[in-house]
Structures are given as C-alpha cells and as structure tokens.
Symmetry: C2
Subunit: 401 residues, 2 copies
C-alpha cells in the first residue's frame, strides 16, 4: 500500500566545541531572503584538511577551486553558500570564487590557498558577484565555537532539517572529538564523490593520513547511498583536523593508534549518509540493500547502486509491491558478473528466491508485512564470489511527488 | 505547468499482406483472462532472420533461446506470449521454451532451431508449463496473411494501443513491402538491445546482410530512446525476410540496390520507437534531445541517454521548469568528454546558454511557451568534436504517476 507519511528524520545532536574551530552564519541573499545562507568555519593555524569531491565532469567553480587547493593540505577557512551552486557559470563563476577566497584570506589573516569554498543550490543561474565578499567581515565577527547548529542550518537547500553527527575516539590515552554537519536531499548518487559534508576534529593527524581514512569512510557511506541516481556538480566532503588535542603522534592512516578514530569517522560518515536518505523527498521507507556473492566490494556496490536507483524498483518499494522481478532486471542492467542459476533474494529475512528462481512456497504474508514497514531490508546474493556491499536508499526521491 | 493530459498516440496503420507471412493470436491464459495473449507468426520456407537482443545479464529464457538460434539465420515461426516474461524462472523456464519450440516445430513442420520465441510481462513469476504448447495447434489454425492487428494486440502488456508501421522500398525495379508490429511502454533503456518488435518483409536478403542493416537501424532508433532508464530482461527485435519478392539478387548490406530498403527499414524502426515513447505512462510531452559537438556518435548518444533518463531532468520537463541546470548535471554524470567553457544549449530554437554559461538575456517567454507544448526540442552542444546523436524520450514514465 502506498503511504504518504514521511520517514522520521534524525534529530540534530548536541555538538560540543572543538579546539581550533569556530563557525557562524549570516543572511547574504544570494538566493534566499529571511534566512541565513552563508556559512563560515574559521580554523586555527596548523589545521590539516582532506577532501573528496564529485567526479562530475561539469563540476562547479567551488569544486574546481577546492580540488586545486586540497594538495596543499592546510585549511584556515571554509566558506559555503546555499541557494546557488555557482555551477555552469562560466569564467564569471571562477572569478567569484577567487574573490571570495581573497577576501576571506584578508579577513582571517591567512593565505588564499588555505581558504576552501563550497556551494549548493541551483545550477546555471547567474551568481551575484559581490554578495558574498561584501558579507564576509560581518560574518567573521559572528563565528563562535558553538556555532554548529547555525552553520548546519545555513547550508540547507531543500533539506527539511539540519544534519549533524558527533563521536569521540581514543587516540592513545587521549579522547578526541569529531563533529560533522552536512546537507543533501537530492542529486544523490555520488560517483566516488559525495554530498556537502564537513567533518571537524581536534585530533592531530597529517593531511595524507586524513585523506586515506576519509576516502575509505566515504566509500562505505556516502558512496553507498543513492536516491534518484543523479550526480551533483557540487558534492563536497571535507575533513579538518585542528591538532589541538594532545595525543601521541600518529603518522600513517594505518597507525594502530588510529583504529578507534577510524571507527568513529566511519560512524560519523554513516550517520550523515543515513540522515540524507531519511530526508529525501517523498521517502516513506528506509531501504537497506545487502548485495552478497559478488566478484568484489566494488562490483557488489555497483549492483546495489543500480538496484537502489532504478525508478522501477523504487516504484515497487513505494507501493509495497513484490520487488523481485525488478531487482533481477536491475542486476542484469548493472553489468557486473552474476550467476543467473545461483541468484537468491531474501526480503526481511525471508528467503523468497533461491537458485535463480522465485520459490513456489514462501511466507508471503511476512514479506508483505515487512515491505509495508518503515525499514525494508533486502539481501541479494548474485552467486559469483565473496564481494559484498550494503547500499542505503529510500523508496522515493525528489521529483516523484 | 504540470499537465495530466496524455500524448497523442500514433494510430495503427493498415498493414498489407506480405508474401510468406501469416499471423494469428489466441487466448492462452498465461497471465491474462479475456484477451488474446499468445501470438504466432508462420513464415514460408526460405525465410532469413536477423535479430538484436537485450544485453541484460539476467536475460530471459526466450532471449537465451533466440540468441542461440539466430546464427542459423533461418526462421519458420515466431511464438510470443504476453503477461509473463519467463525471466528469472530458473531451469524450468528453459524447459518451457524447449517444449514450446518442439511443439511449434511439430505443428508447422520445421526444425526446432527455426522456431523463435519471445515473451514480455512480469519477471520472476512461475510460468505455467503447459499452457502455450497446449494452445499451439488451435493457434496455428488461426494464422492468416491479414492477422497483423490481432498479433500486435496479443503482445501488449501495459501498452494502451497496438503499435505498427509499414513502408515500401524499391530494390532494383521491384517494390518490396516492410511491415512491423511492436510493443513497449516501460523498462525502455535498451543497452544495445531493444524492446519487443518484429519486422517482416518479402524482400530476398541474406541473413548476414539483414543483421548488419538491422543493427544499424536499431542503433539509431530503439537504442536512441530512453524512458525511465531501466533495461528489460526480454528486449527482442527480429527482422524476417521471406524472399517472395522477385527483385534482382542482393548480397551484402552495403549493396547499392539496398539503399532504399535501408531507408525504409530505418523509418520503420524510428516509427515504432517513437510509438513506444508516445505510449509511455504519464507522458505529456514528446522530447527530442539533439546532442552535438561530442567526441563521436556513441559519446553523443550516451550523453543524450543520460540526460533523457535522469529523473531530475524528467521532473523539470514534466513541470515545464527550466531544465538547463539539470541537463548540465547530466552531462557531467555521463562520463563522456565535454568542454565546460564551450557548452551551449538551445531550447525550441532559442539560444539559452553559450560558452559554458546561461545567457543573461534570452527570449524566456518563447522558451517557456515551448516547454509547455507537446513537443519539446532541446539541443546540447558539448563543444568537443563532430559527434552527434538524437535521443527521444518523454517527460514522464511508468512509476511516476
């Protein structure tokens, strides 16, 4: 039965201050009126940064800027505006990013290359050149260690709620904190990029180690969610480490002392990813797709992403119809190896298909009850190898009303 | 403005008899009650056949059978049922196809390998083993040279109208006839396969030449339409030539005497492709996407197919919103080369973007009027090379109701 009720969204958590991070927001009027739409995070000297950006070939001007600055590995400020993505804005768009970085550097007292920029909103709309530089000084006066909620609210577009996550981790005998804010409700099929998310920690970790841990965490969180299957021009994920915590020295991403940090970072990324799925338009069900038996993790993820983004699978899930046939269609479309005669499907823990065919007898009542619930769990074994991945999606997404 | 009215569908044309072809339909009850759902085409000895089949890796049992038989190049019968695709039916599904081919061969008086099978309908549903073989004798008594309309109606599933096309062509001094029937309204994103379509001619053309002409025509018709972006397990396109027409001998596909035949075949494939787009669920607009300036025809087609299948582009087109931003997003997602700073977009003949940015001044009223019409034409120049392709899609498709 189709339902109109929405999924419960995760509440915004209480984010404690992190040494070396101050944030604020202001109304800048790039696209919205009567709400904050410009966010600034100021970072103490010595902050390391890593990032993962969209693989879109029509990336926005802010993405192009950040891609060029990331190898420097140092950040003193992040400027983010909502409402206009500054994408498909030609050379004017690049000039606006340059002006934003230059003015921010002047105000914060840092190098231009230590300023990172992100934007979200409409693509291909002319960007008012002077609005952001003109507001940065006033915005800079507003940044505070407890500005998390205001910052998370200022980066929203079609989001119905601000999104955040927090964890602590032990590095040696020291407890470090990780906070994150994020946004996203559509154009979510990150092609090894991600959506707009900013993670901060007081840990002292070199940029290269941050980068490797971030890529690993993103690959199993942001890159494992898919909504309508479209890829944003603006997806951005940053991880900033201010180094204020006094823990023993760590060097590489695989340093044993970073084990708990990696766990916490993975949890943060997963929490934000799931918050995005829950906030997708028209979502009445949170859908977990476990793909097993694939040739590799990447093959399993590809199959899961194709299933999760298929409009016809989503339509079945929206209407609590048996999705098996459409799942099989999507497996065939994904292009990764699968063994037709060993394919199996479980829905809500009930075996509905084995050895390449739907079972003549299975507990259809239990399956239907599960498909009508808030949380749908489906396992697809493609009968080839040991590769497995979990993909999260919703039954509907923006644009399907 | 969103509209609920449907696109006008093409009427079923008057198809004249073709020497060597007889068709009929019967109610067989595989899935439907009270309508014909089984179609048989009987072909005279000497008929050559070529085919293009889905590239889905979970292809149906009928597709697997037909793929194995096509290299023989000879056909005496085509059996098609609607309502159950006989896909994801395990080894039972293969046995049903074998039994169908064996019984047809017995009744028609031909070899099993000269019997071709296709099916359309639900995937993963157990197929009643005996229904088709049990009806074939009665069905065989019904086949007639003028059975086109009955045959086209029997292969419908969610189609709202039977689909057909006819053309004549000159081979030397002789006029040959080409008739086709088809079906399809969803799961239309043929991955170098196609949807369910059967083309017949009285021309005398060897199977290999038929094959090459058919692949070329399908590449620029069925493979240039996309609805929701999902790929069927069952897509099948056959071209049968009975050889009854007495024209001068032709050998290869590039024989100059086949020029007019190639033109007519291309027109037939295009007419059926467009009929499928017009019959897609919820379609209120017929959308033509011209992609120019790509690295190659294939690159242009890929970009066009990604634009045409993007849920967010379709949502914009459904609601007559400016689609430029979402088109740019889709170009970036397609993965083919494009030059951001040379990208241009025309809508309804009006230049709206040039050199990588939306124009500050363009005739927005004309563009809006065009986007609100029945036929939407958009040209996207990606600024790289000379490759071009035209893609046809609708503003909505099944499942978006």
């Amino acid at each position: 039965m189709a339902r109109r009720k929405r999924l419960k969204r995760a509440p915004f958590p209480k984010l404690e201050p992190i040494g070396g991070v101050a944030l604020g927001a202001i109304e800048c009027g790039v696209a919205y009126r009567g709400r904050d739409d410009l966010m600034l995070a100021v970072l103490d000297p010595g902050t390391a940064i890593a990032g993962v950006l969209t693989r879109s070939l029509s990336a926005s001007a802010p993405v192009n800027w950040s891609r060029a600055m990331l190898p420097g590995g140092r950040a003193r400020a992040i400027v983010v505006n909502a409402g206009n993505a500054n994408a498909f804005t030609g050379r004017d768009g690049d000039a606006i990013v340059q002006a934003t970085a230059a003015r921010t550097a002047q105000i914060v007292g840092c190098l231009k290359k230590e300023v990172f920029v992100a934007a979200t909103g409409v693509i291909g709309q002319i960007f008012p050149a002077k609005k952001i530089p003109g507001k940065l000084a006033a915005l800079h006066r507003r940044v505070r260690p407890d500005g998390w909620n205001a910052a998370a609210a200022a980066i929203m577009t079609t989001d119905t709620c601000p999104k955040g996550a927090t964890r602590t981790a032990r590095i040696g005998d020291t407890t470090v904190i990780i906070n994150a804010i994020g946004k996203g409700t559509q154009m979510i099929a990150p092609d090894l990029g991600t959506t707009l998310n900013f993670v901060f920690t007081d840990a002292k970790i070199p940029a290269l180690a941050l980068h490797k841990m971030l890529v690993h965490a993103a690959d199993r969180s942001f890159n494992c969610i898919t909504l309508e299957g479209d890829t944003s021009t603006s997806d951005t994920l940053f991880l900033c480490a201010t180094g204020k915590a006094r823990h023993r020295r760590v060097t590489a991403h695989n340093d044993p002392n970073l084990r708990d940090f990696r766990r916490a970072l993975a949890e943060i990324c997963l929490a934000l990813s799931h918050a995005i799925v829950r906030d997708s338009a028209g979502a009445a069900r949170f859908v977990t797709l476990n793909v097993t038996g694939a040739a590799s993790f990447k093959a399993a993820r590809k199959i899961g992403r194709v299933i999760g983004a298929s409009p016809l699978v989503k339509f079945a899930l929206s209407n609590a119809l048996d999705p098996c046939g459409r799942i099989i269609m999507a497996v065939g479309k994904a292009g990764e190896r699968a063994n037709r005669d060993r394919l199996g499907i479980d829905i809500g823990g009930v075996v509905v298909a084995r050895e390449g065919a739907v079972l003549r007898r299975h507990d259809a009542a239990t399956v239907m009850a599960h498909l009508n619930g808030d949380d749908v769990n489906i396992t697809i074994d493609v009968g080839i190898g040991r590769g497995r991945a979990t993909i999260w999606t919703s039954d509907r997404s923006v644009g399907y009303g």
